[in-house]
């Protein structure tokens, strides 16, 4: 058992470190932006008015204790941090509890003296440990600016509870289906349903009881930094424990590698997209691309539908008016100003997609599947080139889809933002997206094992830098490292053409470097 624990700890520790640091950084950014944007008591109290805005209520929840830093962090960012830790728990749990079996590696462990139920327990313990580390990081990050140890502790515990809950649900899913992809898919679907249930709950006062059905809703009931309803923590514990019990009971009824729901047997061959390596790359990727498009479009749509409401509340706020003056915005600009701000976040997410897409090329190499193609009359340049074309088209598709989703969200709330402006705002992020995509290609050529880690780390650090640099009066050259800092506020302002061209030039150069380096190096496994 302890050997299995050590193995799983090794497999997950890097992800846990990234997760904990990411959450802590997110909390700090939220806290800093709060202090900057709402410097006085009056502006903070006005935030409670968001409780009357249906769109804001549905996404972020009803504001509680938003006159405190901690309460604001929990309200404004809580749902997003829960989503991040939830996604991590789903991915990691499905990997340890199903991926290891799917790959056959679990047979090595299963052949040892450790019973299967203990391997499941070990996996869940490791995921729980990761959640606890993340919760502690969140606690540490929020306790200093808020000075409220009890609130901070409850907030941290709610994050832990949410992660544990998602891990337990994914543990059940991992017993039901035979592949990690499907187990993670079920876990993600559970997360999505939970989020929608909470939106329904917060859409009107007489539906608030629905929130008890969703793990997302439990934080609303817990109200850290406000009412501090400690008893709600028991819900996380009881439900998670029950789900773990179900998972272990189900596991006892199946063989190693088998699942309770199977679709074995003959499958009709679909000769679709097998003709050329590039078409085949599309076949491998379209499902994931679709998921990214739907997921990000959902986010953009909601942000689009929030723009007007948020703009109106903020425009009445004298403190915020000063902030807008600083950015050269007038009252009329406030809604499209919101579009510009939100589109940068969409650009960040699409940058992550670009890094992931190049990482998928690396995965084909490290799993030694690429060898079947490259030992045939296919040059490495053509193979990689096909994937690059695919990555570029996917990114453009995501930009357009998100622009349109923002526009639709705005249109149904009469925000008065044109489709062209909405798409232009998201397209503003393209140079940054290409820059990080190019960085991923360079890493793929030069240090393939870092293909995803370096650009993803770069995206997160640069975004945080562009945010806290100006707030903390960092010297210009330091903040200027972040490509996000060089983006203009499109559609309020025109594109920053020079900066954009420079970034695209760098993206092109790093891509070329990556292609040349890939040509010269050895193929390497995992």
């Amino acid at each position: 058992m302890s050997a299995v624990l050590r193995l799983y700890a090794r497999l997950t520790r890097r992800g846990v470190l990234l997760l904990a640091l990411g959450i802590a950084a997110y909390v700090l950014v939220e806290a800093i932006s709060y202090v900057q944007t709402y410097p006085d008591e009056a502006s903070r109290l006005r935030l409670a008015e968001f409780g009357d805005q249906p769109a804001v209520r549905m996404l972020q929840g009803i504001p509680h204790a938003v006159e405190t830093v901690g309460g604001f962090v929990a309200w404004d960012g809580g749902w997003f941090m829960q989503s991040i830790i939830g996604v991590w728990a789903v991915l990691t749990t499905s990997r340890l509890l199903r991926g290891e079996e799917e790959s056959g590696r679990a047979e090595l462990v299963g052949a040892g003296p450790v019973p299967a139920s203990q391997v499941t327990n070990a996996g869940l313990l490791i995921v729980l440990a990761g959640c606890v580390a993340t919760g502690l990081a969140a606690f540490a990050a929020v306790v200093i600016p808020s000075g409220d140890a009890i609130g901070a502790a409850l907030f941290g515990m709610a994050l832990i509870g949410f992660g544990a809950m998602m891990a337990a649900a994914t543990a059940v899913a991992s017993q039901l289906v035979a592949t990690r992809r499907h187990a993670a898919g079920l876990g993600a679907a559970f997360l999505g349903v939970a989020f929608v249930l909470r939106m329904i709950a917060n859409s009107a006062d007489d539906r608030l009881w629905v929130g008890w059905l969703s793990p997302f809703g439990w934080m609303d009931q817990l109200r850290p930094f406000g009412d501090n309803n400690v008893g709600v923590l028991a819900v996380y514990v009881v439900v998670s424990a029950a789900l773990v019990g179900i998972a272990i009971a189900l596991q006892a009824r199946r063989d190693l590698g088998a699942a309770l729901i199977t679709r074995e047997g003959d499958v009709r061959a679909r000769p679709l997209l097998l003709k050329t390596p590039i078409r085949f790359a599309w076949r491998l990727t379209w499902g994931v691309l679709l998921a990214w498009a739907v997921g990000t479009a959902f986010y953009s749509f909601f942000m689009g539908s929030l723009m007007k409401a948020m703009g109106e509340v903020l425009a009445d706020d004298p403190a915020y008016e000063q902030y807008m003056d600083l950015l050269g915005l007038t009252r009329e600009d406030v809604t499209i100003g919101m579009v510009a701000f939100m589109s940068v976040i969409v650009g960040l997410v699409i940058s992550l997609y670009a890094a992931w897409r190049i990482g998928a090329v690396r995965a084909e190499e490290s799993a030694e599947r690429a060898e079947h193609l490259l030992t045939r009359p296919l040059t490495r340049e053509r193979w990689l080139g096909g994937h690059l074309v695919l990555a570029l088209l996917s990114v453009v598709l995501l930009v357009v889809v998100n622009g349109l989703a923002t526009w639709i969200g705005g249109a149904i709330t009469d925000a008065g933002v044109s489709a062209a402006d909405a798409v232009a705002a998201v397209a503003n992020g393209l140079p940054v997206i290409l820059l990080f995509g190019g960085l991923a290609v360079a890493m793929f050529g030069l240090a393939p094992r870092l293909t995803i880690a370096v650009p993803v780390g770069g995206v997160v650090v640069s975004y945080i830098l562009s945010f806290i640099g100006p707030a903390l009066d960092f010297p210009g050259w330091l903040t200027g490292i972040s490509p996000f800092y060089h983006l203009a506020l499109v559609p309020v302002d025109d594109y920053a053409l020079t900066q954009g061209l420079v970034m695209m030039g760098v993206a092109f150069a790093t891509t070329a470097l990556g292609v040349v380096a890939f040509h010269r190096r050895d193929l390497v496994g995992a």
Binding site: A269, E368, R380
Partner: protein
């Protein structure tokens, strides 16, 4: 005979400080089944991966059918490859995998592909995910043979196959060379090499230690004596007898390997109470072991 199917000149590969292959110079003629022997880590896979440009040589050159190996577009239409551990796309079916690989290779004889699937008793309608190691290997074998390439580079291709399928693999390889194709077979299954290969190269720690036909290897004037003495006889040490390269006591007596003339050994034996004396030429396994 024309161009050699495979030619290497001083082919060398370093991984950091580790020398995986050191100055391999080798020619494999067309129509041969060439056995490439060596224990794990001797550099067999490294050689094949170099020939396929999956990894780049530190030094040296190589040609496939006279074409420099780096010219993938020209060289690869002549070759196919079967790795020892076949990783495929789990979400595809066997048929889809063969379609994909065939489309990228070109030149697939559809009827021959069907024949191969049938002979190897492969069920291609299943998803690759549900295939065993042996079945994945069959897919790779069908894909390698179905284009009738000039050169087949096979890296321990039968590790997951049962003895019946091993038999079928051997007849496929023989039929291929009968058509003039060349089979380069890396293996440590010595029986397979002994049954199949006309010529053998032995590799040790990145160095080529021997290239010879199987007949030549077995005629390398080495003889093995299995000697049993009457119970009262005491076994002397044979180590200082001229020509003896090894003497190992076993349950029944002693096995003595002699290089060159056995006369000095026979002289010693004539003074002993020998009950039984058997001699034979060494098997490939015995030759192989004598190199390590």
């Amino acid at each position: 005979m024309g161009e050699p199917a495979i030619r290497t000149k001083g082919l060398t590969k370093h991984f950091g400080d580790v020398v995986a292959l050191d100055g391999l110079t080798l020619e494999v003629q067309q129509g041969e089944i060439f056995g490439f022997l060596g224990p794990n880590g001797a550099g067999k896979s490294t050689t094949i991966r170099l020939l396929l440009s999956l990894i780049r040589p530190t030094a040296g050159e190589a040609w496939l059918m006279g074409i420099p190996i780096a010219d993938v577009k020209q060289a690869h239409p002549h070759v196919t490859y079967v790795p020892g551990d076949v990783a495929l796309w789990p979400q595809l079916t066997g048929t889809e995998t063969l379609d994909l690989l065939g489309n990228i290779s070109g030149n697939v004889d559809a009827a021959f592909r069907e024949e191969l699937v049938e002979r190897l008793q492969l069920d291609p309608s299943k998803r690759v995910r549900s295939y065993s190691k042996g079945n994945r290997q069959k897919i790779a074998l069908v894909a390698a043979f179905m284009t009738r390439p000039d050169v087949l580079l096979l890296d321990e291709p039968t590790a997951g196959l049962d003895p019946l399928m091993e038999e079928i693999f051997q007849s496929l390889a023989r039929e291929a060379t009968a058509r003039g194709q060349t089979v380069f077979l890396s293996s440590h299954i010595l029986d397979e090499v002994e049954d199949l290969c006309s010529k053998v190269a032995i590799l040790r720690e990145g160095h080529l230690v021997e290239v010879a036909t199987l007949d030549q290897l077995q005629e390398l004037d080495t003889t093995i004596f299995d000697i049993q003495l009457e119970s009262e006889g005491v076994l002397p040490s044979f180590d200082d007898v001229d020509g003896v390269i090894s003497a190992d006591a076993n349950a029944d007596g002693v096995r003595v390997t002699v290089k060159g003339s056995p006369a000095p050994l026979l002289q010693v034996l004539s003074t002993l109470p020998v009950r039984q004396l058997r001699t034979h030429t060494p098997s490939l396994e015995e030759i192989f072991l004598s190199y390590y």
